[in-house]
């Protein structure tokens, strides 16, 4: 009985400390130091929130760069991947389909090597990044769909390079392009 009472009391103590005080203290600190990041890196354009810098969006219109295949179609509720194993025939078929579709959609040569992140679905279903190579393959199509002249096309090409993030601190992670940010930016090209 004595042990039970001690258990209950120390449990209460830890619940208040680690379940209430700890998250509140952390929230307090970060809301002062990193308020933008703590609230989801939301991007506001003309008074309207257009998305989060970190969360990908579904892009299937010809005027935008398309992102990775997402099992959830970029619906964050809930996030997740396909969980297909490599010997799953569905995955094999999907990869073949996506390859054909990417080539058709971007009017590429049928022998083009399509970067693998465009063929395989991401883990979160929300991956906002693709490789620079996958972005460059789409420049021509986006420019045509937007009726860009040669000058603007060049500007678009430069923009892709500008939005290419190097590995963090030069050595961590992969080279990548955040296509949500890129697409947001190209809406501004005149």
């Amino acid at each position: 009985m004595k042990t039970l009472i001690i258990s209950l009391k120390i449990f209460l103590f830890f619940t208040i400390l680690t379940g209430i005080v700890y998250p509140l203290v952390v929230t307090g600190i970060v809301q002062v130091v990193f308020p933008h990041k703590a609230n989801g890196n939301l991007i506001v354009e003309a008074g309207k929130t257009v998305g989060s810098e970190l969360i990908g969006q579904q892009f299937d219109s010809t005027i935008y760069f398309m992102g990775r295949p997402s099992v959830t179609l970029y619906n964050p509720l809930p996030s997740g991947g396909s969980n297909y194993g490599l010997t799953n025939a569905k995955l094999k078929n999907l990869v073949e389909e996506r390859k054909q579709q990417f080539i058709r959609f971007n009017q590429l040569d049928s022998l083009t090597e399509v970067p693998s992140e465009m063929l395989f679905a991401s883990a979160s279903g929300l991956d906002p990044h693709i490789s620079p190579k996958a972005a460059l393959l789409q420049v021509e199509r986006v420019a045509n769909a937007r009726g860009f002249n040669a000058d603007q096309k060049q500007q678009l090409q430069k923009l892709v390079l500008e939005f290419t993030e190097e590995p963090q601190f030069l050595c961590l992670g992969e080279k990548r392009v955040n296509i949500f940010l890129l697409n947001l930016e190209i809406d501004n090209i005149q």
Binding site: L4, I6, S7, K9, I10, F13, T18, G19, I20, Y22, P23, V26, T27, V30, F34, K37, A38, G40, L42, K48, T49, V50, G51, S52, L54, Q57, Q58, Y64, Y74, N75, P76, P78, S79, G80, G81, S82, N83, Y84, G85, L86, T87, N88, A89, L91, K92, V95, S116, F120, A121, S122, A123, S124, L126, D127, S131, P167, Q168, L172, G173, R176
Partner: protein
């Protein structure tokens, strides 16, 4: 692989090895009651806790009272988490208006977080309110890890003391682990993670219009505080369904490095603490070396398997279930570390790993979570294998086996065998049951051998208190919620109780002084023997099951066969 990827592997291991003695030494000071720099900061909280529960911190107990206190405390935590899920709809901090959780899912989740498993049959963002995540789960993240450290501390006292039945005070060990180790590290990590973009707020989910004009609901919540302790405490339960693959849980390569380090940091450092507290840092480094050899070997095989080409996908890099910002190598350092430590968080979907990489993840768990393993739990599990190794070595040379001057006798060996067999029993028997019953098979997401792997992985993860998954398996059913829940209980307490019994028995023994005839347990020969015993025990137990799953799947993949 590129040079850049090799550099990232080197950075990771250098940081891990470099930080081990620093944190290890600090923890040894904390646990032996020496002065340390956190005392002025949180010392008053420790004293407050003892006054509140009316416990004298200098009063020590025998192993049975220690175990009883531990069980009562865990039971309290279980009941609390279970109940608040059943009533979350009427509880505060539920801006997404999520409904009450079903009884079987609530049971599974409560067991899962109490046992430091953090297996998740549910999706966080669509199932649990901020209140349950914070007041229920975050608390268990702390105290289940502290419970693991407490058991280890009792074992250390049993080994290093002589002719006593006093193993310390569970409440003191629990409080010090939480206040001086887990809490400060988590605060620092949480703030660093938010600096990279992890969310931490109490806002409602935000509905936005995408650039294409569709609606997207962006989830939110106090994620960073939970993620920090989920990594530090080898818990692994994600705030969001995609766990650390979710951009809000792990937004950048740097946050990824921090989180990967956090997975292994405390378990690795505890080997140093252990050496310090038993009076020989060499003994600690011996265990560390055996662990890191197993870890690096696993990583090497995983990388090889993942980068190899196969007839189904040719030379494509296998990005299914992986995030662009991490790429393949970072996903595999994570998958190897998270399963070696009983963390279980993921930054890539293990279900979509190549069969052999998935197998390494499974083997790391099946070996008993002793390759660093859970906070505290990994090391006490490893000491069980150390006892088996000195026993086997003793049989080979015909001497009474000894460890740290303590004779290893029939009782210790019996308890060690129970601790090894309990999780193995769960893995094999429950997997067999699920594989032949409709209740088990109807949850599969893949067919062929990979389907069997999903089942085998689930029960390994439960029994090893890991919590990662071949997540295609729909485990939120009555059958899986209950069997996995029971598996987690057996895997946790079926090891803790024998370990405490060993601690009690060893504490009562005399210490035989070191002599020329003593079998050394701090050299390369012993490291080799220890690794041998771990692999043989694990291999003999699980090779047949693995052959039916990942091994045959890899052979089929190599022949281009799909299902």
């Amino acid at each position: 692989m590129t040079i850049l990827e090799i550099i990232q592997i080197l950075i990771f291991f250098s940081l891990l090895i470099g930080l081990t003695p620093i944190l290890g030494k600090y923890m040894a000071n904390v646990f032996t009651g020496n002065r340390h720099f956190m005392l002025p900061v949180f010392g008053w909280l420790e004293r407050l806790a003892y006054r509140f529960i009316k416990v004298d911190p200098n009063e020590e107990t025998n192993w049975k009272s220690y175990a009883f206190g531990l069980l009562m405390f865990n039971l309290t935590g279980f009941l609390f988490v279970f109940l608040i899920q059943l009533f979350q709809a009427v509880l505060p901090l539920n801006p997404a208006h999520l409904s009450n959780v079903s009884w079987h899912s609530a049971f599974n989740t409560a067991v899962s977080f109490m046992t430091n498993t953090n297996w998740q049959g549910y999706a966080g963002e669509t199932t649990l309110s901020y209140f349950v995540q914070m007041v229920g789960l975050t608390v268990q993240n702390f105290v289940s890890a502290a419970t693991g450290i407490a058991v280890l501390l009792a074992l250390i006292k049993g080994i290093s003391r002589k002719t006593t039945d006093k193993l310390g005070n569970f409440w003191v060990d629990l409080t010090r682990s939480t206040l001086y180790v887990l809490l400060p590290l988590s605060i620092v990590l949480a703030v660093l993670l938010v600096g990279q973009g992890v969310v931490q707020n109490f806002n409602s989910y935000e509905t936005i219009q995408t650039l294409q004009g569709a609606e997207q609901v962006i989830p939110s919540g106090p994620a960073a505080s939970q993620i920090a302790i989920k990594q530090m405490g080898t818990n692994g339960g994600g705030f969001f369904n995609a766990n650390s693959a979710h951009p809000f849980e792990n937004p950048t390569p740097f946050s990824n490095l921090l989180e990967m380090l956090a997975i292994l940091l405390i378990p690795a450092s505890l080997t140093f603490t252990y050496g310090k507290m038993v009076g020989s840092t060499r003994q600690g480094w011996t265990i560390f070396t055996a662990m890191i050899i197993l870890l690096i070997s696993g990583l090497a095989i995983s990388l090889y398997a993942e980068y190899a080409s196969n007839p189904v996908f040719g030379h494509l890099s296998l990005m299914e279930g992986k995030e662009t910002r991490f790429g393949i190598t970072n996903s595999l350092i994570w998958s190897t570390s998270t399963t070696a430590a009983s963390n279980g968080s993921v930054n890539a979907m293990h279900d979509s790993l190549s069969p052999l990489s998935g197998m390494i993840a499974m083997i790391n768990i099946m070996l008993g979570e002793v390759v660093f393993g859970g906070v505290g739990a990994g090391l006490y599990g490893m000491v069980i294998f150390v006892i088996l190794t000195v026993f086997i070595a003793g049989l080979m040379v015909g001497r009474t086996p000894e460890y740290m001057g303590k004779k290893i006798e029939a009782f210790e060996v019996k308890m060690a065998i129970i601790a090894v067999l309990a999780p193995s029993f769960v893995i094999l028997i429950f997997s067999a049951w699920a594989s032949v019953s409709q209740m088990g098979l109807s949850s599969l997401n893949n067919s062929g051998p990979h389907g069997f792997s999903e089942i085998l992985y689930a029960f390994s993860s439960a029994a090893g208190n890991n919590g990662s998954a071949f997540a295609g398996l729909n485990a939120n059913t009555v059958f899986y919620n209950l069997t996995l829940g029971i598996g987690m209980l057996i895997g946790r307490f079926g090891v803790i109780i024998p370990v405490l019994a060993i601690a009690g028995s060893m504490g009562r023994k005399k210490i035989t002084p070191l002599s020329a005839g003593t079998f050394r347990t701090d050299n390369w020969l012993f490291i080799g023997l220890l690794i041998g015993v771990i692999l043989i025990v694990g291999g003999l137990t699980f090779f047949p099951a693995l052959s039916l799953g990942p091994i045959v799947e890899q052979l089929l993949l190599n022949n281009g066969i799909t299902f």
